[in-house]
């Protein structure tokens, strides 16, 4: 075993050319990730999702992605062949998306979709795939795996759909799980359940987790480290437990603008966006 981290990103830049000019979505992001849980937090448009997509090379063909290093395991993502990438996507890197309503196939049963994920990566028979799907559904703590196995996505609640999605992503036993806003379409109580489930699965399977979200307190609850992104750059990276010691104005601003249940505040402080945050960082 080498000691190099599973994922290494150095100076990642992603540009979207458009009719009106070039959008610099990611401007020099660097981080590395081992078997740990990294939270990537920022507002919409901060480049957090694009960073996750770049790791799987799932960006539109017109996009220009550059980096000094963009490595997963021993694969150089920027120069890998499409064939090498296909061996990575799903098999070694799983991606959980925001809304199960849109990301599950509406005309396939939950079980069929999990079995499909299994059979895409392993040579197994139908019956074996069915057994394995049921096991996976049980693994994501669905009480009645048989019913859910034969149900269509519209017959499932949001939380249930997200569990199916997680089961599907776990099927090939990936080394890295990228969860892009996995719970923002869900209720607060279901949110916590799903994140606890992801946390538990990541811990027991020894996977790495990249949790992308706009919800700073929620993420810090479930991650070891948090990187805070603004306008395509990482403003600050810190251990989740030390979030309250955050020094960057943007991180502080994000924390302070939340309404609180315990403390009454007639007005919420709003974020004063410092133009200096936009300046290229070393």
């Amino acid at each position: 075993m080498s000691t190099a981290p599973l994922v290494e990103v150095k100076n990642l830049r992603v540009d979207f050319p458009s009719a009106t000019g070039v959008t610099h979505a990611v401007r020099g992001v660097s981080f590395s990730l081992g078997k740990e849980k990294l939270g990537i937090v920022g507002e919409s448009g901060s480049g957090k999702s694009v960073t996750g997509r770049a790791l799987m090379r799932l960006l539109p063909a017109s996009t220009k992605a550059q980096a000094d290093v963009l490595r997963f395991g021993e694969t150089d993502i920027l120069h890998a062949s499409e064939r090498q990438m296909r061996a990575l996507r799903g098999r070694r890197i799983g991606l959980i998306l925001q809304d199960p309503k849109y990301s599950l196939n509406p005309v396939m049963t939950a079980g069929a979709q999990i079995a499909e994920a299994l059979r895409a990566h392993r040579r197994i028979g139908r019956r074996e795939a069915r057994e394995a799907s049921l096991d996976l559904l049980e693994g994501v703590k669905i009480r009645d795996p048989r019913r859910v196995h034969d149900a269509y996505p519209h017959e499932l609640s949001g939380g249930m759909g997200q569990r199916v999605m997680i089961a599907m992503m776990l099927a090939p036993n990936p080394e890295l799980l990228i969860a892009d806003e996995p719970t923002s379409a869900l209720d607060a109580s279901v949110q916590a359940e799903i994140l606890r489930l992801i946390e538990e699965l990541v811990d027991t399977r020894g996977m790495a987790l990249m949790l992308i979200s706009h919800d700073l307190p929620l993420v810090s609850h479930f991650c070891d480290r948090v990187a805070v992104m603004y306008a395509g750059q990482v403003m600050e990276e810190l251990p989740a437990a030390e979030l309250h010691k955050a020094t960057h104005g943007y991180t502080r601003g994000l924390l302070e603008c939340l309404p609180s249940l315990t403390e009454r505040r007639p007005r919420l402080p709003t974020l004063n966006r410092d133009p200096a945050w936009l300046a290229p960082r070393p």
């Binding site: 507002e43 607060a188 609850h221 989740a240 939340l258 609180s260 249940l261 919420l268």
Partner: protein
Amino acid sequence: MIEIEKLDIRFGATHAVRGVSFQVSLGETFGLVGESGSGKSTVLRAMAGLVQEWTGRIAVNGRPLARRRDRAFFRMVQMVFQDPYGSLHPRQTVDRILSEPLAVHGIGNADARILRALEEVALPRAARFRYPHQLSGGQRQRVAIARALIAAPSILLLDEPTSALDVSVQAEVLNLLSDLRAARGLTCILVSHNLAVVAHLCGRVAVMQGGRIVEELDEAALRAGRAAHPHTRDLIRLSHDLEGMTP
């Protein structure tokens, strides 16, 4: 000002709302919290006239409302929806979106009113001739609020008005709602699953589960965690849990 009594709503075999009763007085903001499927949005939609399969009594200013609402009702009651991406017409400019309620209610002086409405929700004048897709999520929600308020209603129904927004934008929209409420003396019903948001805006809160109100409590009790029903206590514990990380 608003009285809802023994409200019952069924959709086919689904009994969505089961005997819900509450009252909201003039100038008050009343919160409805609960998980998805608890019936909170359905109560709001029945109040707004968007759901007609209800029984029971809904009264405004002491006058019971019919299933079908007249124009005067919509002059008095307006609603802001969760998702500004879905609630604004994609092929209408902000100007057109804001003109519509004025035309419907036969209110003149549209030009000046639209400018004032934009100013009130702190949108730049340049936003007037833009389409929704040219605006940010927060700006879109401001347009939705401006549209709801342009015909000067006295009751505003808010269905998860900030849950599709970034926390930084949520703070701005919540501040805007408090300002407008104070300036116009609005009576509001706010539906949300976020207890902190509800506590921020509402003086009184009803907690819903399985179509029923299981508990009604005031802001102070909610903040102090003095809840009698186990479901309310669960929701409060969860909210504290997540807040535990914030300084």
